[in-house]
Symmetry: C2
Subunit: 208 residues, 2 copies
């Protein structure tokens, strides 16, 4: 298997590395430069692999291509302990993964990108405040769930936790407030067998 990643640390790509570490699977990684002009993810040779021009992208040994970080998690976890077996629990895992991509990542991850890799100074104060408010709202929904539950779906650590850990673990330095239940959950995620941290930032920007 080959995972297309970016040179700078991407939380979305980190999800895939983290699950593959839990699963103990071998694979190769290709790091693309998304800060070049044009980004390597928008060059013809990569668009031929993923027409949506985004990482992570997974290429299987038979050449089949799978995109979208959370769909890759689902595929890799299928049949393992990281995807609940129960029908409703599996759907609840997906519920939190769609929540992550719609209500959480577009605010927390984008604010992280602006902060460390450029763009914050060209946004208006009002726009930055909107992003902070919406990101905080998502983190507050997580906190409410975690006050009553150990994990996000099926009472077990799953790909829903991996998807939400990817950007939540680095939200505090951006100015977001994490509640006590969320901080305790971050610790439970880090304690899972095979846990690995996100890769270091080698771009010279602030640590992520």
């Amino acid at each position: 298997m080959r995972v297309y990643d970016s040179v700078l640390p991407s939380g979305n790509a980190y999800k895939v590395h983290l699950l593959l570490s839990h699963l103990g699977q071998q694979y190769e990684t290709v790091d693309l430069d998304i800060l070049s002009d044009p980004p390597q993810t928008r060059e013809p040779q990569f668009l031929a692999i993923n027409p949506n021009g985004r990482i992570p992208t997974l290429v299987l040994d038979d050449g089949e291509v799978l995109a979208e970080s959370n769909a890759i998690l689902y595929y890799l976890a299928d049949g393992s302990d990281y995807l609940p077996e129960d029908r409703l629990a599996r759907a609840q895992a997906l519920r939190w993964m769609f929540f992550e991509q719609y209500s959480h990542e577009p605010y927390v991850a984008v604010l992280k990108f602006w902060t460390y890799w450029g763009g914050l100074s060209t946004r208006t104060a009002e726009q930055v405040q909107t992003w902070k408010t919406r990101g905080q709202a998502a983190l507050d929904v997580m906190e409410q769930h975690l006050t009553a539950h150990e994990f996000f779906a099926g009472g077990q650590y799953s790909i829903a936790d991996i998807a939400l850990f990817a950007y939540t673990h680095s939200a505090a330095p951006l100015g977001f407030e994490l509640g006590a239940a969320t901080v305790a959950w971050l610790g439970r995620v880090r304690a899972q067998p095979g846990h690995v941290p996100i890769k270091a930032d080698t771009t010279g920007a602030a640590s992520s």
Copy 2:
């Protein structure tokens, strides 16, 4: 089962109605006013059901709650012909559903909302153009796929097609350009047994 929907026609809620029509399942609907102040989706009695305050939300007969339109589709389709059985095809269906929520809906659906139900006049021309460019980019990725494939995943009509039909079918009046392969696919979706159109707009705004 109970589906929480909105008074105005929501493409995300339409996905659930369309699949339930295909499946021939009985259910009740509760329409909330999302244009009131505060929106009924942000009132305490609804937040107690879905803390993220969004429709559609599904409440099962045993009281279990499922949110996020595409997770609801997955749950309802599980075990039916509308979710491919093959492991990779199932993940490809989810790939397109995550694409829909991340790269398509935030631009096409939001521009639709601004256009028919308010907000367009308070956006800058630059912001509207950005939304049009990003929405068109998503539609172009769909067109490229549909040039070589009849449906989005597993060679069959599935919840991936339902998710992408929800807002693509009403994109042209907003100024988006649909390619020939996409127009032909819209026809194939409309020809499926049990197909129903999105509900009429009774808010007095333009037809959706």
